[in-house]
Subunit: 202 residues, 2 copies
């Protein structure tokens, strides 16, 4: 099994997930800056063009970070990070999607459209980036409220939803185009989550 | 169990999923046009503000269409629509996410930003809507290629990935802001999928 990777919040999601599971494998670095991920050989393996991608020993390729995590959960169920009952699976899926769609994707939209990081391969609309940045900041109130009454985003146990939010938050702090207000419950959760050894996984 | 719903491609995804499973439940109509989904009582149940939402008999609420589907799959595993092995679950997740992120969300972005449908509650950037429309159209080549060698989007069996793509395609045809070229394999798949009784579920 090989993980094709490049430094990004998506790679970090998979790295944290693997570290939580105690899984490791061969790594192959992909240079997204030069467009290696949109080259014909890479797209033949992963038509979505995303990084990371997991290649199994028989050559089967799994793209999309959360799909990679779902495969890893299947082959290595413990510790459980995607839910073990109908309800916990649904609640984790719900918060994972909120963390992605209401925050992570907005942060990414702000980054790409404001900085023009991928302007060699996509049309950037700065005004839209600013809309994304405001939406990302506004969404934090929802997570703050949830974390006021729950240890972790999807309830009492650490899950992929926490991984997505922490990776996106650290990315937002790094790129400095999204305002991150100080919010007490997010700060409490962030401190606790950052004590996990998996947080420094690369 | 009650499903809060309003006419939308997301509601259709859940309706098709339920019909495939042979599940039905009480329905409560939500008027998104007047903003009922962003009213305080609704947000108390579903802070993401999305519709549909599933309320269980004990009052637990599940928002986000795919999270609802995951709950329904858990309580009613057959016919399987989310995968039954580590690999099939990952491949379905991968294609489901491609159908969502590379097509459905781009169609939605085109619709919202070009038509200003939700301009009473969000900032619309027409130029961004046009970027989304082009990206949605361009993504169809990836699905066309996959469907050239597979019966369904994620392989040999019908799954949630097909549900997402068909709901998004029909929505795109309805709103008329995204160009949908005639593509042979997508057309073959679309015709076959549309023979399923679940497609007319409401």
């Amino acid at each position: 099994m090989k993980l094709y990777q490049s430094p990004s919040p998506n790679a970090r999601r998979v790295h944290i997930f693997m570290a939580e599971k105690g899984i490791d494998c061969e790594r192959i670095n992909i240079d997204i800056r030069s467009g290696e991920n949109i080259s014909a050989p890479y797209l033949a393996k992963n038509p979505g063009g995303g990084v990371p991608m997991l290649e199994l020993d028989d050559g089967t390729c799994i793209g999309e970070s959360v799909a990679i995590c779902r495969y890893l959960e299947g082959i290595h169920p413990e510790p459980n990070l995607l839910g073990s009952t109908a309800l916990s699976s649904a609640q984790i899926e719900m918060w994972q999607r909120r963390a992605e769609q209401k925050f992570f994707f907005e942060v990414a939209g702000a980054f790409r459209n404001i900085t023009g990081f991928f302007k060699d391969r996509e049309t950037c609309v700065k005004e839209w980036g600013q809309v994304c940045a405001k939406k990302a900041t506004a969404s934090l109130a929802m997570f703050e409220k949830q974390l006021a009454s729950h240890s972790y985003l999807a309830g009492d146990t650490f899950s992929i939803a926490d991984i997505t939010l922490v990776a996106a938050l650290d990315f937002a702090k790094q790129i400095k185009v999204v305002e991150i207000p100080k919010l007490d419950h997010i700060e409490r959760w962030y401190g606790e989550v950052n004590e996990r050894p998996s947080m420094s996984a690369t």
